[in-house]
Subunit: 462 residues, 2 copies
């Protein structure tokens, strides 16, 4: 419970219309899109860097935790306020401050929704090509805070590859600019990239400078059908090292395909594994040449059918199938766990195979999908969350998945971040010195551990 | 002068064949490829992480500065040991530890020369596309330490875009792994990028994991002739925002062209400004289509002639001209100063124009060149270094150039780094809070300020 005096100070900073401690709001702010429940004392909608600065000074003085939050679409618990305190909602900072095609940059506030930015860029012939799965809802601030990846990561990389600089409020309330709007710089430490993926633990972004790129002039879209995930995994690995880099390589497994067919009228083929692939270029000839190479590789890796989208409608249908993954999976049972381990490309088929054994062992239902082109595996484990035995099985399978990914030279998370959900696995991936240096950085920026405490295993001493 | 006991300890660590304090070696190790003179006490050739670790422990115990050094091709003074102590030469750590085409990564020691890595990658159809101007001589360790850019930055970015992870010895001697060999990760703070561009002030890399990319299947090479640098600058800006991204856009000015013609038999046209451009793609049709667009834009921006390289020899000649820039400029007088300010693309023409006024004011001879596609300007100021008045003029012009670049929204350095040469300008670009946080990071990693002290303005309090 917030002290009345502090509550009044917060209201003085943001205005009463931008403050809430109403129970119904506290329920909303207790969750992200999936994770466990927090216990916020209040929430503020900030609209300026100055307000954020004042709040951080107050929080530091009173030692109150502050949890920054954008669209709330995260699923690793990073915006869940487990230690109470203030939820700082940045979604009213939603201005696109500048789009400068000549400089190939845009500058946005953290609450700009990804899809809205894309809508503003597209008529100019430009794009921010990161395209997270949550593109309709997630905000740029959250994309940057988690270093979000997405459907086009195979060719276009992750959010970090597009963040050139930012304005950020530090935990002590000071305002700092990092980076530049130039295409490159070697001037000083790269503080910008320290904030990208830092999950709101080092500062609160108020402006973000992003590099934008021209929309591809031409694309080709194809679909490969396979009898096993493993064959598809091998096809992806061979494709990505063949000399062409498709922009999209999405794997969908049997259970997911069935779920899509049961819940939509997309009428996907009843197969074990589908692999959606897209190539792009300036010219159709180039995109088609890449696709020919992809098809050849698919066939060499046991694709029993490869079809091309010949019309925009066919392409839209393929995409609709892929985009329906989360909604249809969420219908499969009352609980769902989505992971995003990522492995070196050569280990993808093996990851599919070994994880197949794990889910068999624990008798789990898993909708398999993957941003396979960058080795990013998304198993959607669906289960009855009221069944304790089942919950325990899911947790065990999850443990084994993380261990497996690390054994294969992979990482715990390709694009969702660590948050609280993966915090206990951090030392599986990072050696004790790296853990120590992350904690050292955290202490250097936030000595009172005020900002988003308890996340990313930064408080622990293991 | 090094204490005899410490000297013996160093010899015990690296072996007497890997230690020197001979006067002739100390002269070599007092310089980089351009900057002022340092005063090393000794140098060691390290070959293992363990040796580096032992030396750092010793240096910390005895408070001796350690200056890491790779190929020594830098020109910002970052490897110059101004505070004496130990020069740590990593050039005997020159093994390519792994090239894995399936994973699209290679792992190298810091002393691997860029060109040698390229030679190993090319037969496999892959490349590290950063291509610094110093590609024949510079080493990957130095490329990473400076976040080196290069000739293909317009399309392919800088070194930072290819560094996925590393093994690094911290100033206190502890060994740490950062990052991963996966194509993406959102796991923990991005310590990797904190080291990229940190100029050997935070740790000493012993292994570097780099992303590699397929060689382009097809290229087109063209040359635009202009009556002014400003027209060429406008042509570059228009091209880069037109929807195509050429891989190369190199500007060469009149004085440079004359110098090339006087010192080679390349017989370049006697014009004010040349703009070398290259496009690439999987297919020739795509590269040609991009080039057609470029030519159209060049003509709209007053190019009075545009020619295409029709044979490999013609292409090689154009490249030979560009690659001769430094050697021929160095012949123009006994001293040369090379800068690398970088501005937003829209400001490039203005930078050319305003800098033209500066050199006119100070009556300087400047060979103009630019990696123009990413806004990176390389004026090569040639002068008589024995003429004090001239030296003063050069310094004043340099001051004005940095102020101009920052006024235009640019950065002090696009690819060479800060070192000592640009240290005094750091607070022009970075606000006091950013300067404070860079120093805070430095202190957190290196509390005794043992590692490459005095660089990047990290010691100052301004």
């Amino acid at each position: 419970m917030l002290d009345e005096k502090i509550k009044q100070e917060l209201i003085d900073i943001v205005g009463s219309e931008n403050f809430t401690d109403a129970k119904i709001d506290m329920v909303s702010y207790a969750y992200d899109a999936m994770g466990p429940k927090g216990n916020p004392d209040c929430a503020v909608w900030v609209t300026t860097a100055e307000q954020i600065s004042e709040i951080m000074k107050l929080a530091n003085r009173e030692m109150i935790p502050v949890t920054p939050r954008a669209a709330g679409t995260g699923i690793a618990g990073m915006i869940v306020p487990f230690q109470g305190g203030i939820v700082m909602d940045v979604m009213r900072m939603d201005r696109i401050l500048e789009i400068n095609v000549e400089d190939r940059v845009c500058i946005v506030e953290p609450g700009v929704v990804y899809a809205d930015l894309q809508k503003a860029l597209a008529p100019l012939g430009f794009t921010l090509p990161t395209e997270p799965g949550s593109s309709i809802a997630s905000a740029i601030g959250g994309n940057v805070a988690t270093n979000a990846g997405g459907l086009k990561g195979a060719k276009y990389g992750s959010t970090k590859d597009y963040v050139l600089g930012m304005t950020v409020v530090l935990p002590d309330g000071r305002l700092m600019k990092t980076g530049t709007r130039t295409m490159k710089t070697s001037s000083g430490y790269n503080l910008t990239q320290l904030f990208v993926g830092s999950e709101g633990t080092l500062g609160i972004m108020t402006e973000i400078i992003l590099k934008i790129v021209p929309l591809a002039g031409a694309t080709a879209t194809g679909l490969g059908l396979f009898n096993s995930l493993e064959d598809a995994g091998n096809a992806v690995c061979r494709t990505m090292s063949s000399g062409v880099i498709p922009s999209v390589m999405e794997v969908m497994g049997r259970y997911l395909i069935q779920a899509i067919n049961e819940n939509t009228d997309l009428k996907l083929p009843d197969v074990d594994t589908m692999l959606l692939v897209e190539t792009d270029a300036y010219t159709q000839g180039d995109a088609d040449m890449q696709m020919e190479k992809v098809i050849e590789i698919f066939k060499e890796n046991n694709a029993f059918e490869v079809t091309l989208a010949k019309t925009p409608q066919e392409r839209a249908d393929l995409w609709a199938a892929r985009k329906s993954t989360y909604p249809v999976s969420a219908r499969l049972n009352n609980s769902i766990l989505v992971e995003d381990v990522t492995v070196p490309m050569s280990q993808l088929a093996r990851l599919f195979r070994e994880f197949g054994k794990i889910i068999e062992k624990y008798e789990l239902k898993v909708a398999m999908c993957a941003h396979a082109g960058d080795g990013n595996f998304h198993p959607l484990i669906t289960f009855d969350g009221r069944d304790e035995e089942m919950v325990e099985k899911v947790e065990k399978a999850n443990d084994e998945l993380f261990k497996l990914a690390i054994e294969l030279g992979g990482t715990l998370t390709g694009e969702h971040g660590i948050g609280i959900v993966k915090a206990k696995y951090m030392s599986l991936e990072h050696d004790p010195v790296a853990m120590d240096m992350m904690r050292t950085v955290k202490r250097a920026f936030d000595p009172n551990n005020i900002l988003n405490p308890g996340k990313m295993a930064l408080d622990n001493d293991d």
